[in-house]
Structure formats: structure tokens, C-alpha cells
Point group: C2
Chain length 362, copies 2
Amino acid sequence: MTLNELDTPAVVIDLDRLEANLGAMQAACDAAGVALRPHIKTHKCPEIARFQLRAGARGLTVAKLGEAEVMADLAGCDDLFIAYPLLGESKLARLRALCERAEVRVSVCSLDQARLLSAGLGATRVKVRLNVDTGLLRDGFEPDAALDAAQRIADLPGLDLVGVFTHEGHCARLETPAAVAECGRSSARRLVEVAERLREQGLPVTEVAPGSTPTALAALDVPGVTEVRPGTYCFWDANYVHRLGLDLDQCAARVVVTVVDHPAPERVIVDGGSKTFFADSGGWWGRARCVELPELTLPSCSEEHGQALWTGAGAAPVALGQRLTFVPHHICPVINLVDCVNVLRGEEVLDTWRIAARGMVS
Amino acid sequence: MTLNELDTPAVVIDLDRLEANLGAMQAACDAAGVALRPHIKTHKCPEIARFQLRAGARGLTVAKLGEAEVMADLAGCDDLFIAYPLLGESKLARLRALCERAEVRVSVCSLDQARLLSAGLGATRVKVRLNVDTGLLRDGFEPDAALDAAQRIADLPGLDLVGVFTHEGHCARLETPAAVAECGRSSARRLVEVAERLREQGLPVTEVAPGSTPTALAALDVPGVTEVRPGTYCFWDANYVHRLGLDLDQCAARVVVTVVDHPAPERVIVDGGSKTFFADSGGWWGRARCVELPELTLPSCSEEHGQALWTGAGAAPVALGQRLTFVPHHICPVINLVDCVNVLRGEEVLDTWRIAARGMVS
């Protein structure tokens, strides 16, 4: 089958671009002597996870216990970091079972959560990393609070405090690649400093893991960083093209849609709406950037209608039934909407890959 | 199993409320002598569709061919309206196959699309309805354009022009229940007028179908309306509680989450983010309204973190591990994110229903 035979809307993955993106990040981490533990929340796909592991990834990062279970069972991953606070009897029973088949690190966001985790582990031991908030103001410890709580967490039964991590998502809001990178280095330095102070307390904190997608490369420059865990780099997206100064051509995941109506010269309706493109949007492009017609923006969507707007001169140069390719603003929630993606080498559809870890509600 | 044993985040459907919502809309339509053809895009669930059909629905409305196929095959529905312009060889082949097992009506948005549809039908005949834009400025014909094109569409081989419909989504943006209702009546009157003028042209346009969720009840008041096709009424949501002056207790679909962090007195992190609550938001409540703590709002989410904000006095009265129930702002894309919903009678989990028509990308 070829690309043009796929029914639309279709999510397609360009295998050459995917391989290039995965290889470039792995090479950068290898050159810096820093472990790469990719976050699979972007692709949720065992085939891509296996590629990352074969290429040299240290293990995988996941956001949910259900994702960890899928990656252990379908991607054969035996080294998982669940970057999320786990709570509750059922989840901790599942965690104990997962620890039978993989080495699992889990996030600790508060002393209370660590106590509940410890109490629910039974005879299981798990490695834990403190979630340090380096500026996002979301979850986890402020740096000083991490220093205050660490010894008490390390003393809890069943917990081996081995590291610290941070999600410096606030850096992704900055407008220039240089500002994003400097924010990333600054967050990484704060995290390294927390780790150093914990070691001064006598705690064996050897794992220092900043580096979500926008700042992973910048974090490699900071001495003391041992691991990064970018996710979106496998595909990139229109947001990162803008924030990091990438080329749109580097984006490996795209959405192919069909023009289904053209009710006014500047207004074009395509058959992907918010149930295809999600609702995150960015700069002038809106929900996604059009590859063939850069001046065709996607400022708004209803659920199955993309309301594209032609910003060039004259009428939009489209015909009913024409297919168009869009690079989403934010690719992670787009992949999460489909059960399968179509894998391309050039125009040929080689395979479909199941997004096996989507829909893992818990 | 009981509600408290479900892992979170969990989407739950309260069966008593669902039955009440479905029954009330059917009763209103029956009293007005207007057919109800519910839009299944909200629930995408064969069990709920079968309930609607048993209660007296005329047939079902769908947004996608894939949804129509699921509803024919899994809900046993033999009377489907695909309220979307279908284009392309593969889709029209699927449409022809679907017409073998159900009566199918399809949307026509332009003369060009009608020609492509007609050309792709082979020996199949389908009933078509003109999509008339009564103010949304999205897809379809302006009223005068519909009058100009109708005869040429009716003359195309394979097409039986039987009706007109409109999606008056612009009414849903108005702030008061009275304004929403008046907008709905006005749109319905415009649509009835188009139908009358088409009948004056000698065209047998007997089906006049306005009435998406916010305006369905108002449209019942307008003489000449033969059918409405609300969707969200099965569950309602926080948006409609506000727009239509409903009671939050009428909302049948909720999301149960757990408090996983409480990093500051007013900030609470719950384990549902934008991959659970989607990204649509409304008034003071944000992405969803909290049932137990009305002053706990959900202004922002990252993918798996709901960043709830306590707007009451003092610190948020929550404990780590506590479960909270939220009514989403917009329920349709929330249901579309999960593979299954949990069906409750009171606190008891009676069943899980598969959202079988989600992930039907095309």
C-alpha cells in the first residue's frame, strides 16, 4: 500500500526521519557519557521503544504504571523509571508484580507519598528518585524541601534512594532556542547541586536526571548530570520546530487529511479536527503546520472538522478531495488519540504499529 | 467491585442519570412529534446506542464512516445518518458496502462533493441531506447557495435529496440559556424556510433536521422541524450545566481521580491531566468541576497531571491519596480518550462498556 491509498485522517510515521531523530539523540548522549532513558509517553509504541533500547538507551521512562506494564511485556524492557507518584493498594500491588519482571525506579514527590509507598511494598524493594521542582511549580519537592526530607525517605523500609530528577517543563515556554537551552542548563545545575548536598548528607544519590525534551541536549553540557529522558525527540513537532529552531522536515510524525469543503475563499475544511489534532496550539500555525502549503494555518477545530485558514493572497489553492500533510503543534496527545500509526519508508506503507500503551488509564 | 476499588483515573457512567437523561430527551421529542436521531459522537458506545434505539430513537447520527460501521455491526442499527461529507474511492467503497446492511443518509456540503459522491456510488442509491450553515460559518451551504444548488444535486445519479440539516454550534457560545434557546429557534426557522423554498422548487425535501445538543429542545418548538440529533444530552457536562442552567447532578459521566501531590496550600495535583480531561475548558472551573469540593478548580493540566487550584479560604482540604470526582467541561473528547467506561449503579460497578467507535480514524 502507498501513502495515497490510506484513508484519512491518517497518522503516519516516516521511518527515515524517526531513525535519524533517535540516532542523533543517542549519539549526543553517548558523546557526553550520559545515559539516555527516553520517555515513551510520546509514542506509547513498543516497536519504537525496542528501537530506542537497541540503539543504546539505558532503559525507559513512563508516566503511568499501565505504560510500564506494556513496555515490560511488549517491548521486553527490564529497566523502567515510572516518573509519577504511585499511590493506592491496587497500584502498589501491580507495582510489586512489575518488580518481579523488571528493575523499576519510582518517583517520590513528598514524604507522605514515600511513607504510603513504603507501607505498601511488602517484601519488595524499589529504587526511588526524588522529584525536584526546579521552576515548573507543578509537583515534587522544592530543592530545600528535598534536602530536608531525603534522610527520612531513605530510612523508610523498602526504599533505596538512588537519585533525583526534575521535569523542567517551564523552559519549554520560552521563546528562543538560546533561552530554552539556558533555562535547561540552569535547571540541571540546580539539580546537580541538590544531589551534591544529599551526598554531603551521606546519601548515595548517584543518579541525576534532568532533561525533558526541550532541554535534554543542553543538560548534557552540565557536569554531574548522569541521565536525560527526552520523549518528543523521536518525532519532534511544530512547537519544537519553533522553540528549538529545528527544520520542519525533521518531524517524523504527520497527519494526512483530505480537503472536504471549501466554503469560502480563505476557509478550508479538512477531515481532522480536535479528535485528530488535539487542542494544543502554538504560534501563527495554530494546531498544526501544513507541509505543502505553509500559509494554510489551522487556528481552530471542532471535533472532526479542521477549520483551516488561508493566510496567503487570493483564495486558498486547494481542491476538494486534495490530501494535505500537517505536522501537529504538540505530537504527544495526537499519537494518544489513535490505536495505530502507519509506518512509511518514502511513500510506501511498510507496516502499522499499535500504540499499545495508549488507553492505559491508570 | 465498587467505585472505590477502581484504579484512577477512571471514567464512570452513572446508569440512573444516563437513563434519566436519555428518557427525558426521548419524551420531549415524542411529545413534540419530532424524531430523535441521537449523535453518537459523544458516547461512541454500542450499549448506549442500543439503549437510545430501544427508547424510541429514529436511528443514529454519526460523524465518521468508521463510527457508522461500528454502530451497524455492534449496535445493530440499520438507519444511520453520516453527518459528514464523504470523499475518496476507499470511503465510497465502504459506504456502498454499508448501504447493503443499513439505510444510510449522507451529508452533502457542496455541489462538487455531491458530484464526486454520485460518481463513486456505482449502482448504489443513497439519501442525501444538504448541510446548511445557519450561522456557524464552518462547513456546508449558505442558505441561498443551497437553494441554487439543490436541483443540480437532486439530478445527480444515485442521490435522493430528502432533507436539510444544520449544525448550529454557534449557539453554544452564548452565555445564557435564553440566548442559546433563541439562537436555536432562529437557526431552526432558517432551516425550515430553506426546506419550504426547496419544496416550492418541486424538490421532495421532507426531512428538516436542526438541533444539536444545546438547541435540540428549543428546535422542538419550531413548526416544520422533523428531527433533532443531540449528542451530549446522554451525559451532559460542565459546559452545558452553565449554558443551559442544568444541575451538576444531572451529569452522568464523571472522572474519578486521586490526589497524588499537594505541593502548596492552594495547589493540588490529581492523577488526571490533558490525556484524561482533554484540553477544552470553560468558565471559572477550567477543565472540569469538582463534585465534592466546588471551590477546587482545574485551570490547567499537563498530560498526566491535573493542576487543581483551591479557590476557597485557607489550604485545600484534601489529603494525599484522597479520591475526587470531576465533571468534565466537555465530555465528548474525554470519552474519546478511553477504551472503556465503568458503569455504575450507585457505588456498584455493574459492567464495563467498550467505547467501540473510538479510534475509528476514518
